[in-house]
């Protein structure tokens, strides 16, 4: 049963809600939908899941771009209603007939809606019945069939990972319906003949997974973020199997591999200078506090608008030449008069060209695809104003969308946060995480330099206890910048080192603690576990993901896996995820700035710093307008 169906304008005024279904929605699903989906340019997704204490809803929506209306249907997640899409499009059609910008209340629509709903439900029933006749199923209640068809219909979740995750989610959905007391049949989408066997199999797995489900409910009730929650369900299942596998492995300790008959070298190669020979360090040049202003404080000068106009010309000449002569004439004619409505077929080629362009700028393929879908959803049905071409409308919409994505959702004023922490007499802890070789240690030094320039006292913590030379590297930076460093050498537990560093900082009154960690691949389970332990134990104020601008499609994988692992392996109810991104090696890419977009889109966190060189002053802020201009050039 539908929980609610709303019609509202893009400006926010609710025009009509279904009064028959009087249920008040728990939590605020509509506002969350707008904030985390529609405004985040994910309007191309099929549905949105919302979890509130005491309710789990799925929301589906459709736009009427010409009139600026949004139609949203809310229903319980466990019911896979088929007729929602159908109903939404019918409602859209009939409402747009009676819509009048001056009118604010549409009570007469109640009757129309009731009829439409009955119609849609009837149609769904018929569909169900025809499917039921086709497949012989033993003792399956009607509910089961609804869910089965619903799953086939594809209630695709907003997923960021590969298809494996989707299957996992599908499984979870099925299992959750099982535990909710519906005696559904098995819902294997592949093989119908093995239904009865699989039924038994499912029952068994449901018993095994029952424990995890209760954990799932608990986690859900703590109001986990929609995306995180979905991912959690998948990995909880995986974790149970993995834990079983990990137990026996832990018993055997690792031994060094011996390749030939010679006895292995026993001595470790540890060249750490002992910490207490400070006398030797006079010869190291101490960087005067004035290497110049950090580029964070300089304003950006970016090219004027004349460039973009020049680029429009060659682009526009290409398009008519490609199309047939007749096509060119009609498009010119239409651009003067203004076409009736934009259809998907019209937007198709323009969006495809735009997607190609984005991909040549090093935007991950998946992200470009999702963005194009979202722009398509927002333009479909819109009236093309006169004297504009389709390509320019699409370009304008895409530019708007890109600016929206790259604008930070919350304030990224680190100095303000530092001052706030200072008032509470706590040090502000920043942890730098990332894969190998992206520039964490170098950029940590740059951030320290910048903070120092703003009269903030900094302390470094060398928690990269794995890579040879990491501690020395940080020590050199600390010496040059004249800031204290907390180190414990190599082969120590980074989480404990960090904890002690923070205690030391509280003791000697440092304002900020910058924690350097070892680089790790996102697939490396034990290392990710160690990182999660560090973050859980120390609860830093800012988790900064360091990513290089040279990365391509891997950015999506890196960020999503990092976030997923951090949320899965977190012990508390509120998992700490990545709070900000530090984009490095920005000077090496000329105009292939797409990595910034991919990272921001996939993680939702803003780019706080951009590293654009290898000296201390090469740190700046992200200039949103310049990036958008470069991406669309």
């Amino acid at each position: 049963m539908l929980e609610q169906l709303l019609i509202f304008t893009r400006g926010g005024l609710i025009l009509w809600t279904c009064k028959e279904i009087g249920n008040a929605l728990k939590g605020s699903p509509i506002d969350t939908l707008i904030r985390s989906c529609l405004l985040e340019e994910r309007s191309g997704a099929v549905s949105f899941n919302y979890d509130a204490p005491g309710a789990a809803y799925t929301l589906k929506w459709t736009f009427h771009n010409d009139l600026g209306l949004v139609f949203v249907a809310v229903y319980q997640r466990i019911l896979h209603l088929l007729y929602v899409d159908d109903l939404l499009s019918m409602v859209k059609q009939s409402f747009s007939e009676i819509y009048d910008p001056k009118r604010m209340s549409y009570d007469d629509f109640d009757e129309t809606f009731r009829q439409l709903r009955i119609e849609a439900e009837a149609r769904a029933e018929e569909l169900r019945k025809t499917k039921q006749v086709g497949k012989p199923v033993s003792s399956v209640k009607k509910q089961g069939q609804v869910s089965k068809a619903g799953l086939e219909g594809g209630n695709k979740r907003v997923s960021e990972g590969g298809s494996k995750k989707d299957d996992g989610d599908g499984n979870k959905a099925k299992v959750s319906t099982l535990t909710n007391g519906h005696s559904n049949g098995n819902h294997q989408m592949e093989d119908d003949s093995q239904e009865t066997d699989l039924a038994n199999g499912k029952e068994n797995t449901s018993c095994n997974v029952a424990v995890d489900l209760s954990k799932l409910q608990k986690l859900r009730s703590k109001g986990v973020r929609g995306r995180g929650g979905v991912r959690k369900t998948d990995s909880i299942g995986n974790k149970s199997s993995k834990v079983a596998a990990a137990e026996p492995a832990k018993k055997a300790t690792k031994k060094n591999r011996v390749w030939d008959d010679a006895a292995p070298k026993q001595s470790k190669l540890d060249f750490t200078d002992s910490v207490d020979d400070n006398g030797n360090n006079d010869h190291v040049d101490i960087v005067a506090a004035d290497q110049g202003e950090s580029m964070m404080d300089k304003e950006e000068v970016f090219s004027s608008d004349s460039e973009s106009e020049d680029d429009d010309e060659p682009g526009s000449d290409e398009k008519p030449a490609e199309a047939k002569k007749k096509g060119w004439f009609s498009s010119v004619f239409q651009s003067i008069t203004g076409k009736a409505n934009l259809e998907k077929t019209d937007l198709g080629p323009a969006l495809k060209a735009l997607k190609e362009r984005l991909m040549t700028k090093n935007v991950a393929e998946e992200i470009a695809e999702k963005l194009c879908e979202s722009v398509e959803a927002s333009l479909e049905g819109k009236k093309l104003s006169s004297f504009t071409r389709i390509s320019s409308t699409v370009q304008a919409a895409m530019e708007d969308a890109l600016v929206r994505i790259l604008t930070p959702r919350r304030s990224i004023d680190i100095l303000r946060d530092v001052h706030a922490a200072k008032e509470q007499r706590k040090p502000y802890v920043v942890v730098f995480v990332g894969v190998n070789g992206v520039g964490k240690s170098t950029n940590l030094a740059k951030v320290a330099y910048w903070l120092q320039q703003h009269k903030v006292s900094v302390m470094m913590a060398a928690c990269d206890t794995f890579r040879s030379g990491a501690v020395e590297q940080l020590r050199t930076h600390a010496r040059r910048l004249q800031i204290p460093i907390f180190e414990k050498g190599y082969e120590k537990d980074p989480a404990v080192v960090a904890k002690e560093a923070i205690q030391e900082a509280t003791r000697n009154g440092s304002d900020v603690v910058l924690v350097d960690t070892a680089g790790r691949m996102q697939d490396n389970e034990p290392l990710m576990r160690a990182l999660s332990k560090l973050i859980n134990l120390n609860q830093p104020d800012l988790v900064l993901f360091v990513g290089e601008a040279l990365v391509g499609n891997d950015a999506v994988d890196q960020l999503s896996k990092f976030n997923q692992k951090l949320s899965d392996l977190s012990t508390s109810g509120n998992p700490r995820l990545i709070d900000g991104i530090l984009l490095t090696k920005f000077d090496t890419i000329d105009d292939k700035v797409g990595a910034a977009l991919s990272m921001v889109y996939i993680s939702g966190s803003p780019v706080m710093f951009v590293g654009c060189g290898q000296s201390y002053t090469d740190l700046k802020k992200l200039n949103v307008k310049a990036i958008v201009k470069t991406l669309l050039k």
Binding site: L6, G12, L15, D297, S411, K455
Partner: protein, 260 residues
């Protein structure tokens, strides 16, 4: 290709005909016609220049969820209809404020009211509208004030240090909304808290002052605790309730700054 050729030929013919026609007109008439046209354009331009003295645009801004859209519809229609959700686009309208429709006699100048979405992703829309604003109403949620105080003070700080606001000395009204609820804070409390937060912001923002060319203005007086009376533009505080329709103070403010 035929179409094009045909078109070209037709166009050439027309242009020839047009030229012949023009040449047929005796010179004096031609000159007077041109003269009249020039005079008309100059007159229109001068009217536009002179009329630019006072705009009638009032902006409704504030954080997401503070009640701007409800207030907008209250001012326009006298009722908030069926409620509102997070706005994705601005709501604009030029109208006479609802209450004045009934009471005032004579010519009342309509107000161009713009409700700008407060969501942080849409902050660029505010920058578009600020230069044209005659007055700004900053709506604050008096109920959920303390959890959002940082974001609200940053937003207000950005407005107060915006280049156009400073140049035009745009008056700002700090409107405390949702005062119909029992646990809403008083306007005095809100004012004091905002002043304190902006004072803190001054310190941290002035550190990055050279970066932002638009906001290179330091608010208030150096060395003294910030107070709204230090601003060059007038900043006042008022209370309102969007849901119940108590918008008198807001309407007075709007009337004051959009002269009828």
């Amino acid at each position: 290709m035929d179409n094009l050729e045909d078109l070209k030929i037709v166009a050439e013919q027309w242009s020839k005909q047009g030229l012949e026609f023009v040449q047929k007109i005796p010179p004096p008439q031609l000159y007077t016609a041109i003269g009249v046209l020039l005079l008309a354009t100059i007159w229109l331009l001068s009217i536009r220049l002179f009329r630019r003295t006072k705009s009638n645009t009032v902006l409704l801004s504030g954080l997401s969820g503070s009640g701007k859209t409800v207030l907008f519809y209250q001012l326009r229609d006298g009722s908030s209809h069926q409620g509102a959700v997070t706005s994705m686009e601005p709501n604009e309208g030029t109208f006479v404020l609802h209450n004045e429709n009934n009471t005032k006699k004579g010519k009342v100048k309509p107000v161009h009211l713009i409700d700008v979405p407060g969501h942080s992703r849409l902050i660029s829309k505010l920058e578009e509208y600020l230069p044209r604003a005659a007055a700004v109403v900053f709506v604050v949620d008096a109920l959920e004030f303390l959890p959002n105080i940082r974001a609200a003070s940053e937003y207000l700080y950005d407005i107060l240090t915006n280049a156009s606001v400073i140049k035009n000395k745009t008056p700002v009204l700090l409107c405390c909304n949702k005062t119909d609820k029992v646990t809403a804070h008083t306007k005095e409390f809100i004012r004091k808290q905002m002043e304190k937060e902006i004072d803190k912001l001054r310190v941290s923002r002035s550190a990055i002052s050279t970066a932002d060319i638009a906001n290179d203005f330091t608010l208030g007086i150096e060395g003294e605790v910030f107070s709204f009376s230090h601003c060059h533009n007038k900043v006042t505080v008022a209370e309102a309730s969007g849901l119940t329709g108590e918008t008198d103070q807001v309407q007075e403010f709007i009337r004051e700054h959009v002269k009828p």
